[in-house]
């Protein structure tokens, strides 16, 4: 067995042990709790910042980013609804 093969064997053993250990760490409530809280805090801060920015923007009578997203979504929904109706119409015609 050459040096590379020996090293690979050692690496495989290390990887297997470390993966099992890390799986336990990643499922540990002592890790998950604080990690979740940090993510939640960051998200709530971002949402509050976005809301404040949008309020300032809207105060000037301008459509906010969220307004534009809602409008685009409504257009997409309208397109889908039209496709639904076309399908129903085609079905009704086929049944006649």
């Amino acid at each position: 067995m050459n040096l590379w093969d020996q090293w690979k064997k050692g690496f495989a053993a290390w990887e297997s042990t470390t993966a099992a250990y890390m799986e336990q760490v990643m499922a540990n409530p002592a890790v998950l709790g604080p990690a979740g809280q940090m993510l939640t805090l960051a998200m709530k801060t971002k949402a509050a910042t976005d809301k404040a920015t949008a309020a300032w923007w809207a105060a000037m009578g301008l459509p906010t980013r969220r307004d534009q997203e809602r409008s685009l979504h409504k257009l997409n929904q309208l397109e889908s609804r039209l496709a639904d109706l076309e399908e129903q119409l085609a079905e009704a015609r086929a049944a006649q």
Binding site: E23, T40, R70, E79, A83, D84
Partner: protein, 362 residues
């Protein structure tokens, strides 16, 4: 060294099987692969492939010679696939019903319309399998058969991902309100954290076989796919996590789709659950629960070695999984084969669902 040459040639080409777009709506589209077999020699019932929402569809059409789609087309199947596309900011409002009922439903109807019997086979991969199962439970009329390929159904057995999403510190509402769509880098980082040493192991494997062109073809194409992810529509994600990961609604029979109940017991079409021995994303126990609950008399589990992705795209899959799936569909090609047709049953090396769960291929 072959690896050094690849730096000059750039990333491998993926999704090369010729296809035509037959439908487009919002960001998603339905593709139909061009047949290569004479019409008289083709199977009757079209097949709809439903990939995961967060990965690109071309995992099932990775590269010439490594493509599940190419294999099916060459075997005479009429193959369709959903490309979910890339959600943009306004898609944060897309609901689970929009995706699983309206979009998937339309894909099923459009695909079924291409067949003479008005039905189609449906294969869902990973989350796509969960969506396909929920849709089939709520709207079974046009689904000739269901293949759930590494699809999580029982989220009580969904491994560490379930542990994370059920952690009290994980505030799904704060995440959606903050991000809108759940960004793909966050989800990709989560998948890396499932097995943090996997990246190193992959690197060592790459160095070990850096001279092997055939290995590099597959490795680089898979890596390209693995790093080409899409974000998850926010409202859809909120319900996906809430109803499935947290409430395990499919197993509790509380899942609803488009205002209708989506009960696993209402699935009576031929069903195959495919699981993999080293799948750390969807453990076999999370996938086989489907077979315990459905009412179909024609149901089986196909359990193979390999991981969540490798077992679907590898050379081994080309010799094992793909032809077995093709034969399974072929045996259920006509209406007469629905339920328990005379020729159904011996077409795959699968175990009947009533058999003990441990059905492992070497």
């Amino acid at each position: 060294m072959a690896l050094a040459e690849r730096v000059r040639t750039g990333p491998p080409k993926v999704g090369q099987t010729p296809a035509d777009e037959v439908w487009r709506e919002n960001k998603w589209r339905l593709l139909r692969y061009r047949p290569t077999v004479a019409k008289a020699d083709r199977w009757r019932t079209p097949i709809l492939l439903v990939p995961s929402l967060i990965n690109r569809y071309y995992v099932l059409d990775l590269a010439p010679g490594r493509s599940f789609v190419e294999h099916l087309v060459a075997a005479g199947h009429d193959v369709f696939i959903i490309d979910w596309g890339t959600p943009t900011a306004e898609d944060r409002f897309l609901t689970f019903d929009d995706v699983c009922h309206r979009y998937l439903g339309r894909a099923v109807r459009k695909t079924a319309a291409f067949g003479p019997d008005g039905v189609c086979h449906v294969l869902g991969y990973c989350l796509g399998g969960t969506l396909a199962t929920i849709y089939t439970a709520a709207e079974p009329a046009q689904v000739a058969s269901l293949v759930a390929l590494a699809a999580p159904i029982d989220f009580d057995h969904a491994g560490i991902l379930a542990t994370w999403t059920r952690s009290p510190g994980f505030d799904i509402d704060a995440l959606i309100d903050g991000f809108g769509n759940v960004p793909w880098p966050l989800m990709q980082a989560s998948f890396h954290m499932l097995k943090p040493t996997a990246t190193l192991a992959k690197l060592v494997g790459l160095l070990d076989r850096a001279w092997d062109d055939e290995f590099l073809d597959g490795f680089l194409a898979t890596e390209r796919w693995g790093n080409d992810n899409v974000s998850f529509p926010g409202e859809c994600y909120r319900r996906y996590i809430g109803d499935l990961y947290r409430d395990n609604a499919l197993m509790r029979d509380t899942m609803r789709l488009g205002g209708k109940p989506a009960r696993l017991g209402d699935i009576d079409c031929p069903t195959l659950a495919v699981t993999f021995g080293h799948d750390h994303i969807v453990p076999a126990a999370a996938a086989t629960a489907l077979l315990d609950r459905i009412s179909s008399p024609d149901k089986a589990q196909l359990h193979l070695s390999g991981g969540h992705v490798g077992a679907v795209v590898s050379r081994k899959a080309a010799a094992g999984l793909w032809p077995q799936l093709s034969r399974w569909w072929a045996a259920r090609d006509t209406d007469a084969a629905r339920g328990l047709g005379d020729d159904a049953g011996d077409d795959v090396d699968a175990e009947p669902a009533a058999a003990p769960a441990a059905t492992t291929a070497p």
